[in-house]
């Protein structure tokens, strides 16, 4: 009984991802430069060096943040 669809929460919105998706592949799909973002997975910061090997799992809550203008 294989569920082939994976849904995660990305920045508060539901997103369907491929099985085997990693943070690195997700960033690539989103056209994001890994050096310009920081990533949290289930409230834990994922070090950049681990993006390639960190597999996303169903119901993961991912936050991808960057710097913006502010006072």
């Amino acid at each position: 009984m294989m569920d082939s669809s994976h849904t995660i929460q990305l920045n508060g919105a539901a997103l369907t991802i491929d099985p085997g998706e990693t943070i690195a592949s997700l960033l690539q799909k989103l056209a994001l430069d890994p050096r310009q973002v920081a990533v949290e997975r289930n409230r834990e910061i994922v070090p950049r060096a681990h993006y390639g090997e960190t597999r996303l799992e169903r119901a993961d809550a991912i936050e991808i943040v960057t710097f913006v203008g502010g006072g």
Partner: protein
């Protein structure tokens, strides 16, 4: 390029600085206006915020801001608890830009006044984790004393609520804070026009941090320059040692030799 007086540097967390104006990068019309204002301000340090990435955005602030010229100071704007602020700054550190951090923990969305209690709690934990902390706080000498005692690299008391443009509401307290502090005092928030920044410097503050005063001026680039000049003027006036105030007049022209 930078007309700041090289003979009057100040030191922040071991780093000598010439500009006494720190500016925010928010609320400008676009990247071009932001860049022009930063340049006119002569600032060496600029604040930035941490937010969810905009997946529709064409570019990123990190693409166009000159990192050789400006040191980015991440803030914790939007954080209402110590936990949120700590989480934000850990993410900033993961982004590799957190040599110094601006800690702000807000207590109320209408006034955006800092929650001193949560700020103290966050500062303690952040200092423990090795962050260099510049805390935004109320103009309360006791809170400033506590923040300094725990190891913050500066204290940043407000002039007035963020974005209010009201100028220094309590110059007496700012003076008390300056008197007792052994770390730099940076007035942060509530500045509205150049004279507000001048007053801060005349009270003995080391620097002024502002965003809205420039971004919401009718001509932001001109205001950025006005602020730069106002701060230079205020600092010179402070170093010159102002005359005493008097209850009554004292003539400026000689009282003898009057024709009769």
């Amino acid at each position: 390029m930078n007309e700041n007086d090289p003979a009057d540097p100040w030191v922040l967390a071991g780093r000598p600085l010439h500009s006494r104006l720190i500016v925010g990068t928010g609320k400008y019309r676009d990247a071009a206006e932001t860049k022009a204002c930063l340049q006119a301000s002569g600032a060496e340090i600029v604040t930035v915020a941490l937010r969810r990435v905009d997946l529709q955005a064409k570019d990123n602030l990190l693409d166009w801001i000159d990192r050789d010229r400006y040191t980015l100071l991440p803030n914790t704007a939007g954080c209402y608890t110590a936990d949120e602020a700590i989480r934000t700054l850990r993410l900033a550190r993961e982004l590799g830009i957190a040599q110094m951090v601006k800690l702000e923990v807000i207590g109320d969305p209408k006034t955006l006044l800092p929650d001193n209690e949560q700020t103290l709690e966050a500062a303690r934990i952040l200092l423990d984790e090795g962050f260099v902390v510049l805390p935004y706080c109320t103009d309360d000498p006791i809170v400033c004393r506590k923040l300094e005692a725990m190891g913050c690299a500066a204290v940043m008391p407000l002039a007035a609520p963020i974005g209010s443009g009201l100028g220094i509401r309590n110059p007496h307290n700012i003076r008390l804070i300056v008197e007792q502090a052994k770390v730099p005092v940076i007035v942060d928030a509530g500045v509205g026009t150049a004279s507000d920044a001048t007053v801060a410097m005349e009270l003995g503050c080391h620097a002024v941090l502002m965003n809205t005063a420039i971004a919401h001026a009718k001509h932001p680039v001109h205001m950025a320059e006005a602020m730069r000049l106002g701060i230079v003027a205020g600092r010179k006036a402070f170093l010159a040692g102002r005359m005493p105030t008097r209850m009554y007049a004292q003539a400026s022209s000689p009282s003898h030799g009057l024709i009769e």
